[in-house]
Symmetry: C3
Subunit: 324 residues, 3 copies
């Protein structure tokens, strides 16, 4: 994933990272450039490998180093030196935080200025009390409503209309997008390691991407990704009070009604229709042209063109027959 | 529907409207005054007729013109000249937009001023940073909280308490109403024609009406109607995070618990109790004194006095018996 | 319940309270200090007793007076003089309002000042347009985001991060708590007596307590208690768009996913996991280490260590077996 927003503070010496991981290692002296997943990592990058599920990708990784556990090291190629730890994900989190320290901290953005004190004052048709952070770009013919906060790391293209009381950060918005009042977009996801008395948040270095012609309804929340991005495809419309969790990817021309929730990392196809209050569990794949009835609870993958209803969601005809 | 808020930009020459509709018509030269539904249209008005379902109303319409499709023209009276198009609703949308251009545009309201610069400064007990749009009236003994935006076309009667961070537009609020923090009221509904790569929004010329003694909970959203109004009846209480879609009409003395969603155009009776997170599909009729258990999904009409539960919602005794 | 926030306007003469209750009583002249529940009331306090369910507590109450109905007086000890009324709860509400008049009024707080005009200006790392009410304390090393309103009766301890557009009142926040953007915390619950054409709100003299290390997701609402408190236990994390009703108590180290709703007075244990969009009815007891699948509807108590799913929620294995 190319990352336009979170600054990589690396490279770091391999020995420094071993120190962070509490590894007593005779490691070669080498600069590590970045931390990436097994597939995208290149030479001199560090990766992580925590489950046998990924063994086929692990075998071919180009990463020079890999955080992993004792029982998985045999899958790694000789070119990749394992850094053996007890908890791969917690260790990965610690190192990611070293490379991308600003990705774990979601405090309010104190870099903002009132838009009237910025270069956008004339260019953007804006309401009262609009705040703009660092590293923001806004195209032509855009509107931004009252009390809206465009925090750092936001790019808004042309002909966009952002409502009032909106908060956006770490987000790419393409052309002709409408974001209605009271939305919060680009916040870190609900991802952390549960630890008794003091959970450990892991970094979210992904962003939110909202493609051309989308509309995002009032009071919706769209979280940014952890190691990948959250994406709303072209011309997809979201109604009010929708929650899109981190890493979710929604295709084009989809229609999602009020109060729907989509849990982390699920992938939704093109031309999908989701009725009000439906919920979709995490890590699922919903095909193209799928229709999900309002109020349904989807807990497994759904193939292209299926129409489902119920909890757990099943074929709509079957559901209605069983529930006369 | 009488419309106190959206300004009719008509009349327009019939030939101009034909041009908008791409109709090559030998139409009489005539001023068309307004666009209305088949029932309320008068002489010199334009109406629309898109489904056989409405044939009995169509037969008696007083409209002078009617947007319709080839196969429906025979139902119209001789006094009504058909304007034949391929897609009746899309065409109706285009013409409505001509009559009511401001009804399709839900950008932030740039007509607002800080309340301290308006005549309401002394009359209304208000918080900091309150903004007031054009065409707003506020009665006696009202409170408006901090950062609240009363956009254009809002009438608030007497003894009302509006919370902080609220956004209201195109809304009639009667006496003794409480609107709690963070609500968004009067935004257009989730109504549009799905068109590949570029959906077409249709106009929403309805308003929201909140009758005497209602309470609207925090972070709720109530959308305004498209061709009719969204209505919350007298002394009806809504809890937090409720979504009321466009054209919904709720009766008097009803009680609706947190996170309920009511889809477009459904009609809810008097003395109805709806438990938390229940969902009601669109275009349904829920009778008086109905009780809907929390979490239920209602997908068909419910007669007076019924108690229902489940998804799909059925008689509560039957549901509990089947689900021990 | 000790109450740090709502000011007791008593003591009041017993005869005055009888007058409020429309009781024609030969009552002894005595100052009544406070109104409390049967268990915590002391000598010279007034209590209330409306259901046989509480007869064993009633028998031992130390209250000097008790609002009750004719058929329950026999359970009260001789030291406690009954004040017999038709509707115990409505009468209790009226008297509570006399003792705690500010607990029924949830209008916006007009005591606030811009933080830059307060003593917190230097001490707190704050955004723009932050408002601070009366009777607020804030510890060391705290951040408060833009447009956030800390209304009266809020105590924030050390190392807390409050987001932007947040509204908090009547709330105790302990150390290391994060409250994300757009939350509304401490508002009165959805509690009132339904009365035709004009419901009667009862007082909410409880507060919200958020223990150490909690995180509250964006756009969540947490209502304060009526006669007890609403509590979020240590290191419990809430995702976005969650609604926690009045008097709910959640234990430690629990994890609650997006759009969950918990109805009034339910008690949730420690180490509980609740999936997205699940709903929990009011007045339930959910044990420790319970797991509730996303989308479930819980309508009865759940013992420790159970895993449940469905609506109504049942053993997860049974549910999945029945719903293949």
């Amino acid at each position: 994933m190319s990352n336009p927003f979170f600054k990589n503070e690396g490279p770091f010496e391999a020995s420094l990272l071993c120190q962070i991981l509490n590894i007593d290692s005779n490691i070669v002296s080498k600069n590590i450039l970045d931390i990436k997943d097994l597939f995208t990592a290149e030479e001199n990058d560090l990766s992580f490998f925590h489950s046998k599920k990924y063994k086929n990708i692990a075998k071919k990784t180009r990463a020079s180093f890999c955080i992993t556990s004792d029982n998985l090291t045999s899958y790694l190629p000789d070119s990749c030196q394992p850094l053996i730890v007890k908890n791969v994900l917690v260790s990965t989190s610690k190192v990611t935080q070293k490379f991308y320290p600003s990705s774990i901290n979601d405090n309010y953005d104190n870099s903002v200025n009132n838009i009237t004190e910025t270069n956008f004052s004339e260019k953007v048709n804006h309401g009262k009390n609009v705040l703009i952070g660092k590293n923001v770009s806004i195209g032509n013919n855009c509107l931004i409503g009252h009390n809206t906060i465009i925090e750092q790391n936001v790019s808004i293209a042309n002909n966009c209309s952002i409502g009032s009381n909106v908060i956006i950060r770490n987000t790419l918005i393409k052309d002709n997008v409408k974001v209605l009042d009271n939305c919060v977009i680009g916040k870190h996801g609900f991802g952390f390691f549960p630890i008794k008395d003091n959970n450990l948040r892991y970094p979210h270095i992904g962003i939110v991407i909202i493609e051309d012609n989308c509309e995002i309804g009032c009071s919706s929340t769209i979280d940014r990704g952890s190691m990948s991005n959250t994406v709303i495809g072209k011309n997809t419309y979201l109604d009010n009070q929708i929650h899109i969790a981190h890493n979710v990817k929604i295709g084009q021309n989809s229609i999602i009604a009020g109060q729907v929730g989509i849990a982390g990392s699920s992938i939704i196809g093109n031309n999908v229709k989701i009725g009000g209050q439906a919920g979709i569990s995490g890590h699922l794949k919903i095909g193209n042209n799928v229709e999900i009835a309002g109020g349904s609870g989807v807990i497994k993958d759904i193939p292209d063109n299926a129409k489902v209803m119920g909890y757990p969601a099943k074929n709509i005809r079957q559901f209605l027959k069983e529930n006369r």
